[in-house]
Each structure stands twice: as structure tokens, then as C-alpha cells.
């Protein structure tokens, strides 16, 4: 029982609704990407799950229990909210030691996570000497400290170098592979696409989507076909004949929109157009996300009349 369950969750700050009647479930064994523009309520939702902010209404539970009823919660849920949370005057190791002590996590585990996050060599340096990427790694080390079944990371790739970004991607995949529940917020689409299996998308505090990532992309982005030929005239003719719309790019390749590669391949080979390259162009998460949010903007800009 390691599922994060959010039920009709609402949080108001004064009159502003940061989270608005949100219901979703984060399941173990897969990486759930938590998407939405800045201010959509991702961080607020995470704080509500951790019991740091008080809910206005609704509930957020982990394994069916409210976070503040967990005994030694770091052993169940590990979270990275803010890489600046470690006090600059402590060493990285001392920072983790203070956290470990409160949940009776053995000291050996502190050195393990320092090793795992690549901080062992700077563990005895003060945090104020750390780069942003190193602080981020320290925050992730803190999240992993209690070997938790549930991991929640808010923008973990912030400030990481390319090597670090690959490392975090592999870490997330591994954690999910071990059967843990992994929720990762981000506003970087390509980054999220590289590790997420499932998506929860927020806009203005409301749930916009809760679907597997592949389905999310396929439902929103029409596939297209990339093709290159030595005979553009013949290519254009055959495509036009079958009602396809093709656009030529500067480097000489063509894109056929709203088409499948099986169909286009058959058409052009049937009439003997020489082909240098033929490939299916999958929609990207970014395209799908923009499609969703633009639809959402239209919806909010033109409210239906009663």
C-alpha cells in the first residue's frame, strides 16, 4: 500500500485557489510525471500530501493514511521540495545526519546515499560552498535517506549538468523498477518524456489529464511522415493525387501531415518515386502538452453560455 491518493483536494490562500477540487492517484511501479505551468499547483499539491500546508477541503493520503499519522515518515515517503532547504553552514553530511536521527535511520545509510548521489567527496564541506547541482543532489540524497516506498521530487533536474540529468533519469527508472511510487514534477517536456510512464497534468490548480504518457501523446498529436526523394515533382504529384498535404523543408526533406508511414510508403513505391529516407514522426510530449493547454485556454477564454 504505497499509493498516493488525492481526493477532491482544494487549497485556498486567501481568495486564490491554488488547488481546485483535485482527484488523482499515483500508483507504484511507474514514474508519474507531474506537469503544468508555473503556478499550476504542483508544488502546493506536494506540500499538501506532506501535511506541510493545511488543506482547505478534501484529502491527500499515502497508503491510505494521512502523512502526519505516519510513524517515522522518512522511512515511507521521501521528498525533495526545495534544494535550498539545507542550512548553508552545515556540512552536507551533518545535514543528512540531523534528518536521519529524527527517524532513527542508521548513520551508515547517510554515507550510502552520499555515495549514491555522488556527494561522498564533498560530504564534509559546508553546504554554502555547493553548486546548485550539488544542492539538488543533496536534496535527492535526503529524499532517499529512509529508503522510502514513495518518492516525490519537485523539479529534480533543476541546476543539474547533462551528466546529472542522465543520472536522475536512470535513478527514477530504477526506483520505479523496484516497485516504488515515483512522482516527479517538471515543466521541462523533453525531460519528462524521457522518464515518465504516466502523466498527471495540472492547469490553474485543476486536473487536465491523468493518462499513460503514450496515450496522452497519441490522442493529441497527429502522426506525420518524414520523406526524402530525388524526384520532388513526382512525390508531390502522387501525394496530391491521394489528398495528402506535404511541406518541403529547407534541407530537402518533406513532411506529410496526418499520415501513417505504412500508407505513404506504399503509395510512393507503387508509382516508383525514388526514396532516400522514409520515417514515421511520432508526436512529442511537448506538442501534446501545448495542444492540451491551448485547448484549455480557449475553454477558459470563452465560457459556455448558460
Amino acid at each position: 500500500m504505497t499509493t498516493i491518493e488525492v481526493r477532491e483536494l482544494t487549497k485556498e490562500y486567501g481568495t486564490r485557489r491554488a488547488v481546485d477540487d483535485l482527484t488523482f492517484t499515483v500508483l507504484p511501479g511507474r514514474v508519474t510525471g507531474f506537469l503544468g505551468p508555473n503556478g499550476a499547483g504542483k508544488s502546493t499539491t506536494m506540500r499538501l500530501v506532506l501535511g506541510l500546508d493545511r488543506t482547505t477541503s478534501g484529502s491527500a493520503t499515502v497508503g491510505g493514511r494521512r502523512y502526519d499519522t505516519l510513524r517515522e515518515p522518512l522511512r515511507h515517503v521521501g521528498a525533495l521540495l526545495d534544494a535550498q532547504a539545507a542550512h548553508g553552514s552545515r556540512t552536507g553530511r551533518d545535514h543528512l545526519r540531523t534528518l536521519a536521527a529524527s527517524n532513527r535511520i542508521p548513520l551508515g545509510r547517510v554515507d550510502e546515499v552520499l555515495e549514491e548521489t555522488g556527494l561522498a567527496s564533498v560530504a564534509r564541506r559546508r553546504v554554502k560552498t555547493y553548486s546548485l547541482g550539488m544542492r539538488q543532489r543533496l536534496g535527492i540524497a535526503a529524499a532517499l535517506l529512509g529508503d522510502p516506498e514513495v518518492v516525490m521530487l519537485d523539479e529534480p533536474s533543476n541546476g543539474l549538468d547533462p551528466e546529472g540529468i542522465i543520472w536522475i533519469r536512470e535513478l527514477l527508472r530504477r526506483l520505479a523498477g523496484e516497485g516504488r511510487t515515483v512522482l516527479v514534477s517538471s515543466h521541462l517536456m523533453n525531460e519528462t518524456a524521457s522518464f515518465a510512464d504516466h502523466l498527471v497534468v495540472l492547469g490553474k490548480g485543476r486536473l487536465l489529464a491523468d493518462t499513460p504518457m503514450r496515450e496522452f501523446i497519441h490522442a493529441r498529436v497527429q502522426p506525420s511522415v518524414r520523406i526524402r526523394t530525388t524526384n520532388p515533382t513526382a512525390l508531390k504529384a502522387v501525394l496530391a493525387q491521394h489528398g495528402h498535404d506535404a511541406a518541403e523543408h529547407e534541407d530537402g526533406h518533406w513532411t506529410v501531415h496526418h499520415a501513417r508511414v505504412d500508407e505513404i510508403g506504399r503509395l510512393v513505391s507503387a508509382v516508383g518515386v525514388p526514396i532516400l529516407e522514409l520515417a514515421a514522426e511520432e508526436g512529442t510530449l511537448e506538442q501534446a502538452y501545448l495542444d492540451l493547454t491551448s485547448a484549455e485556454t480557449e475553454f477558459t477564454a470563452q465560457p459556455q453560455e448558460a
Partner: protein, 241 residues
Amino acid sequence: MPYAPVLHSEWLKIRTLRSLLGALLALFAATTAFSAIAGVSETSDPEFDPLFMALSGVGPGQIAAISFGAMAVSSEFHGGGLRLSLAAVPQRGRWFAAKATAIAVPALAVGLVTALAALLVAKAGLGDAASGLTVGEQVRGVVGCGIYLMLMALLAAGLAALLRSGAAALSVLIPLVLVVSFVIGDVAGGATDFMPDRAGQIVLYQTHGGPLGPWSGLAVTALWTAAALVAGAWSLRRRDA
């Protein structure tokens, strides 16, 4: 959650911050130094009180105790640090109780050692002028002084939690102990006797007049401190972290 690991964690937090250890060192150094200076000063004043003269280093020294308490709490308010602490220990009341204990114990220990050192140093300087002090009065002075310094550290801790800022807590308390008592002390008459610093310092005198005695004076300071801690805990429990 059990209390002992939480207390252990809070104690580690204090031990691993140099600024907090520095504040405790400053408490010792400033108090003993000013008491030593007082020990070699003029003693012909008719209101001369040898016990207070010997422990007068507490006046400046308490600033360090107040800073210690305020900084120990305000170190949690750096960039989301409190969220991390409360994610580890979601029972906020218990967490704050552990924090207060981790402040009180070292403040009391260092306060007692400081008071004893200050008394011994100043007595060496005062010589015959301090010969009238009984053992009981000296013990009362030292113990009372240690408790007083602990209470001031906790008062600052409570205020820092209430105001969510060490600087804000210091800017309330330091003027209070440095200025208010001296400036309006004699003008306002009886009321200032019940201010936290005035009331708590009665225990440092060999003889005392006024409505409060040594222990009832400390009790008044303890009430102030308890009020600040309760207000701090209330604020912590009620607000979003």
C-alpha cells in the same frame, strides 16, 4: 513518533552550527569578562551589592543567550528548511518541544558554568568587599543566574517562532533588555519590576526590595517565557509551513 530521536536530531542541529556554539562561547566570555571588570571597580557606593556586582556581566552576556535562542529557531526558516524538518517530524508540537529542550539544556549548562566563573573571577577582584556573601547567597546567585539565562534564551526562541524571524525577535528583545529597563525603569515605578529581565535579575542581588523576591522574580520571567513558547508553538501548528 517517540520523543528521544527527535530530541537527538534537534541537539545535532545545534551542535553542527558554528554560529550557535559561538553564541554560547560569547555568553561565557562576555559575562565573565564584564564581571571581572566589575570586580575591580569602585565599591564605596552606598547601594553597592556584592553579589550583583559579581554577576553584573549577565547584563551584556544575556545578549548572547538571547541570540542563541533566536538563532537556533531562525536557522529553521532558511529557504524551506522548516518544511524539511516538519516532513521528518510532522507532529509540530512535539518537534517544537524538542527544539526548546535542545535550546534549554545547553543554555542552562553554559549559564551555570558562566555564572560560577563570573562569581569566582569577580570575587577575586572584590576581595574584602565580597566577604559578606554567604555560601547560600552565592549558590542562589549562580543557580538563579543559570536559570535566568536559560529563560531568556527560550523567550527569544518562542518569539522567533512566533515572528518567524530571528532578526525580528532580536529587535524586540535587545532594546527591551538594553534600553527600556534603564530608561523607563525608575520612571514607570512598579510595572517595570515585572518585565522579564528586571524580574528575573532580582535573584542576582544579595538584598532586594520591591514586591518580588529572588524566586518569585524568576517565576515571573518563566511566565513570560512560557507565554512566548506557547505563542510560538501555536503559530507553528496553525500556519502553513
